[in-house]
Each structure stands twice: as structure tokens, then as C-alpha cells.
């Protein structure tokens, strides 16, 4: 079989997965709630935080993006996978000359595309609100706050969005891996949320590792640190947006992207191992 044929099939499966996903009420509801939450941060202008207001809006927006994006990554991927199983569209699909890996990759890409839409919309809304508040602040406080023509580096808002999207990708791939052997939606969602918490707190294990002496405990912690991706790597929001001095180098961003990609590929391949033996 030609590799180009494989890519075509993956693209087709991803396309229908995405179309199926954007029609889900859950996605639309979550998107609206996220927009409303990010938008509501403007009401905090009455507290007159000065330049701190922009930082507050940014943190609030990034927090909403991460929180609802994580929920969406796990629930949408679970729903898209189990819908195919329960409705038996997977049966029709896999009875065609389609590899199971192509099916899984298509499902993942469809879900990741959905998350891209979500991330783009939220970062656009956040940027719009930040711009509006920045203009209002500059009008009120004058130009003494401006360092390099603007208080905010909007490119960094999107860079943060991109890194979060990479993180959502890992989460979606892991969810797909759990779904590949799980029999219920609930189990998949619960295990994936545990994984999210572990990955968010993974830096604790890394700190412990740094302070440990050589031995099996150190090897165990190192192993856990490798199995579970470190999500803190993607949370560089503090370094972005405001602080020109601490702006991350392109190579750092590329390294984080590569790190995320490795985990995505690894989880999809693990999902394939389970899915091969699964009764459809």
C-alpha cells in the first residue's frame, strides 16, 4: 500500500471526525462558556488594577483556556472514539482496506483539529479583550508604561495558545490510548483526568529526583518522570506576553514541541497495540 494512500485515508477520517465533533452540543457549550468566562474578565476593570489588570486578564484567560481545553481534550476524544464503537461506524470503516493505525491517527487528528479551533477562538477573544483594555489604559495613564511600543506582545498570546494546543494533543492521545482498552466512557474519562493531574504535578517527582541519591528509588522516579510527560514545560505563560527579557528562545519552543510530539506518537502507537486485539 502506498504511503500517500495512507495519508489520504487518515485525512478523510480526521475530516469526518472533526465535522462530527463540531456538531456536538458539548463542544459548542464549552466554547461558549469559555468565551463568556474570558469575556467576563473585563468586568474586573472596576477594580482599577492599572497595568496589573492586563496581567490579571491574561492569567484569567490562560487559566480558562487550560481548564476548559483539558476538559474538552478528554471528553471530546472519549466521545468521538466511543461513538464510533457504539454506533458501529468503526465496523463499517475497518471492514474497508483501512489499517487500525490509520483509523486511530484519523480519530486523533480530528480531535486535535477540534482543539485547534477551540484554542484559536479563545486566544483571539483573549487578544481582543487585552487590546481593548490596553488601549483604555494607555489613554488613561499615558505612554510612560510603554517599553517597546506596546504593553503586550500579542504574538506570545498565540504562542502560549500553541503550546497549550500541543499539551491538549498529548492529553487527547493519552485518552485515545486508555479508550483503546477501556470498555466505558466513564473509565476513560476518570483515568485521563488522573493522568492530567499527575502530569501537571510531575515537577514534584522531578524535584524529588534531583535530591535523591543513586538507587532503585531514583530509577523508579526517573522512570515515572519519563512515562508521564511534564505538563509544566508547556506552562510558560509567565515568561510570555509581558517580559521581553524572559521571552523564550525559538529553540526552546521547538524543543517543547518536539517533546510533545514524541509523547503523542508514543501514545498513539500504544493505543494501536491494544486496538489491534480489541473486538469491534
Amino acid at each position: 500500500m502506498k504511503i500517500t494512500d495512507s495519508f489520504t485515508r487518515i485525512r478523510l477520517i480526521a475530516g469526518t471526525t472533526f465535522l462530527e465533533a463540531v456538531r456536538q452540543k458539548f463542544f459548542n457549550s464549552l466554547l461558549l462558556i469559555s468565551i463568556a468566562l474570558v469575556g467576563s474578565s473585563t468586568f474586573f476593570q472596576q477594580f482599577d488594577f492599572g497595568a496589573g489588570e492586563l496581567k490579571f486578564i491574561t492569567d484569567f484567560g490562560f487559566g480558562a483556556l487550560f481548564f476548559f481545553g483539558s476538559i474538552l481534550s478528554i471528553t471530546a476524544t472519549t466521545q468521538l472514539f466511543f461513538n464510533e464503537m457504539e454506533n458501529r461506524t468503526a465496523l463499517t470503516m475497518l471492514a474497508k482496506p483501512v489499517y487500525k493505525l490509520e483509523f486511530l491517527a484519523g480519530k486523533f487528528l480530528g480531535a486535535h483539529l477540534l482543539l485547534l479551533c477551540y484554542t484559536l477562538v479563545i486566544t483571539l477573544v483573549l487578544s481582543g479583550i487585552l487590546y481593548w483594555r490596553e488601549m483604555a489604559l494607555l489613554e488613561r495613564l499615558g505612554n510612560e508604561l510603554i517599553l517597546n511600543g506596546s504593553l503586550i506582545r500579542y504574538g506570545d498570546v498565540f504562542l502560549f495558545g500553541f503550546l497549550q494546543w500541543m499539551k491538549f494533543g498529548i492529553l487527547a492521545a493519552f485518552t485515545l490510548f486508555v479508550a483503546s482498552f477501556s470498555n466505558t466512557n466513564l473509565y476513560t474519562i476518570v483515568v485521563s483526568f488522573f493522568m492530567l493531574v499527575i502530569c501537571q504535578l510531575q515537577y514534584i517527582a522531578r524535584d524529588a529526583y534531583a535530591g535523591m541519591e543513586a538507587g532503585w528509588e531514583r530509577i523508579l522516579v526517573l522512570g515515572l518522570g519519563l512515562i508521564f510527560p511534564n505538563f509544566q514545560l508547556f506552562n510558560i505563560g509567565d515568561q510570555l506576553v509581558f517580559d521581553v527579557e524572559k521571552a523564550p528562545a525559538v529553540s526552546t519552543v521547538l524543543q517543547i514541541t518536539g517533546y510533545g510530539t514524541i509523547y503523542v506518537v508514543a501514545f498513539i502507537l500504544l493505543a494501536q497495540v491494544n486496538f489491534r486485539r480489541r473486538e469491534i
Binding site: 485515508r9 478523510l12 477520517i13 458501529r88 461506524t89 465496523l91 463499517t92 474497508k96 482496506p97 469491534i280
Partner: protein, 295 residues
């Protein structure tokens, strides 16, 4: 001798049940051959192993032991599925696509060349009689229409072997008759059809050969006529015979050393009776419509 469409040899499938390594045998040492250009019926009650066998043929499940080949190629190879079309039981499709978009989508998945897609899609939609409804969303289709569009997607890449899992389940007798006619047309076009069903009346008039499974084992296999005919009895269908004539026939049978086993009125099957009645009403209705238009 041509390669059989399906060759199953000593096929066994066990499913692990529970945590203690208990096994449930779904298919037990099954041996089966389906010849090319044959309509073959896989019969059996629920849980007899029909669907498991079909899934193994389609490469969706791996056999515990034994082999399964499609036109001489191991069925677990993805490439072997290029020559197979499959309609699952009670199919569900993406509801937001139109019938035409759905068939087109599966044509692209099966890598039908771009220049041939439109013709292939139109051709199968016409074959299953869905031309008028092809541009409606799948979500608006009735069960019978879903089965027909499902048949269209299974045929769009022109497979040599078509596998239909309970193709008439939940479909009304008219829809079932239409599907049966499509199956016959496929045979005329040189295709091989494997269908599983427990609606035996429909299978009887359709299949060349059948296999009966029970608890995963092959119970009987052969031509439908060979399996169901009473080898030691013949029936004479007589019309307009008087009581005296009948007594004379009975006496003659006795004189010839035979024995009249039973006398019964020839019957139409309920299925055939229903179709005849509906067909007559349809013709009546069409005539009335035409009359109304003329007025």
C-alpha cells in the same frame, strides 16, 4: 477449478471471559468453503457464531486457531479486504452527510480513482434504487433506506465478495424483497454474496447454498433444496378433481404399492401473500392516479 471466494479451515475462536482466564468458544473447528459467484447463507440462532465468523473473515478479529482466506489470501491482511464489501447489521452512518456524500466518502476511503468516483457512486446508488433520495441527509432515512445506502457503500469499490450481516433485519417485507432483488442482481453481475440471517423464509428463496451453525459448530451445509426436500416423498398438485376422482387416485396409489401420506392445500408463504396483496394495491393506486391526472 477456480479459487473459492472464502476458504475457512479448522477455525476456532475463543474469547477470554473474566479474570480467571475462562474461555468462551464462539466458533468451534469450523470448516467452510464459499464458491465464486455463489449466494451463500450463514444461518443460526443468536450466539451461534455467525457474526464472529464474519468478523474473522473481515480481519476484524484474529482466529485463535485455524485459517481463513479470501480468494486465496489470508483474510487478516488489509489488502485482502480490497475485494470485499461489507454491510453490518443495523448500520449507522454519519447523519449529517447526504446519501451521495456518504457513498462518495467510502469510495475515497477505498481509494477509488478520482476520475471514476462520480460514475461509481451514481451507478451503485442507482443499483440500490436510491437515486431520488441520494441528496437527502442520512439522518432523514428510514431503516430500509439506511440498509440500501449501506449496500451502496459496500459496493462502491466494486468488490468481488459482498458480505451482508442480517441485511433485512428490521426492514419491512417490501424493503426485504427489494434487497433480495439487489442480491440476485449482484449474482447476475458475477459477485459472490455471503449473507447471515435468521429470517429463514427470505434465505430459502435466495441462497444457492447454506450452512447452519449452532454453538459455533457447523451442523449442516449444502444446497437449500437438498437440505429441505423430503427424499422419500413426492407431491402431486391437482386441480378440479371430484370426490370420485380422488377416491380412484387413492385406490390406484394403493394398487401401485404406494401410500397416500397426507392431502393438503398448496399454500403461499405469508411473505409472498403479503407482497402479492401490496403489489396489487400499488397497481390499483397507480391506475387511479393516472385516471385522476387525465381528468
Amino acid at each position: 477449478m477456480s479459487t473459492p471466494a472464502i476458504r475457512i479451515q479448522n477455525l476456532t475462536k475463543d474469547f477470554a471471559v473474566g479474570m480467571r482466564g475462562m474461555k468462551l468458544r464462539a466458533v468451534d473447528d469450523l470448516c467452510l468453503e464459499v464458491g465464486d459467484n455463489e449466494i451463500f447463507g450463514l444461518l443460526g440462532p443468536n450466539g451461534s457464531g455467525k457474526s464472529t465468523t464474519i468478523k474473522i473473515i473481515l480481519g476484524l478479529l484474529e482466529a485463535s486457531t485455524g485459517t481463513c482466506e479470501i480468494y486465496g489470501r489470508p483474510s487478516k491482511l488489509v489488502d485482502a479486504r480490497r475485494s470485499v464489501g461489507f454491510l453490518p447489521e443495523a448500520p449507522y452512518f454519519y447523519r449529517y452527510l447526504t446519501g451521495r456524500e456518504l457513498v462518495r466518502y467510502y469510495a475515497r476511503i477505498c481509494m477509488v480513482p478520482r476520475v471514476e468516483i462520480d460514475a461509481a457512486v451514481d451507478s451503485v446508488i442507482e443499483l440500490v434504487g436510491m437515486t431520488e433520495a441520494a441528496d437527502r441527509r442520512v439522518g432523514t432515512y428510514s431503516k430500509g433506506m439506511l440498509q440500501r445506502i449501506g449496500l451502496a457503500q459496500s459496493l462502491v469499490h466494486d468488490p468481488q465478495l459482498v458480505i451482508l450481516d442480517e441485511p433485512t433485519a428490521g426492514v419491512d417485507p417490501l424493503g426485504s424483497a427489494a434487497i433480495a432483488e439487489i442480491v440476485r442482481e449482484l449474482k447476475r453481475r458475477g459477485k459472490t454474496i455471503l449473507l447471515s440471517s435468521h429470517l429463514l423464509a427470505q434465505i430459502e428463496g435466495l441462497c444457492d447454498r447454506v450452512a447452519i451453525l449452532h454453538r459455533g459448530k457447523l451442523v449442516r451445509e449444502g444446497r437449500v433444496d437438498d437440505l429441505v426436500e423430503e427424499k422419500d416423498a413426492e407431491s402431486l398438485v391437482v386441480q378440479g378433481l371430484s370426490a370420485e376422482g380422488r377416491a380412484a387416485v387413492e385406490a390406484e396409489i394403493k394398487a401401485q404399492g404406494g401410500q397416500l401420506a397426507r392431502v393438503e392445500k398448496p399454500r403461499l408463504s405469508l411473505d409472498a401473500y403479503f407482497l402479492k396483496e401490496v403489489h396489487e394495491r400499488e397497481i390499483e393506486h397507480a391506475t387511479q392516479q393516472e385516471g385522476g391526472e387525465e381528468l
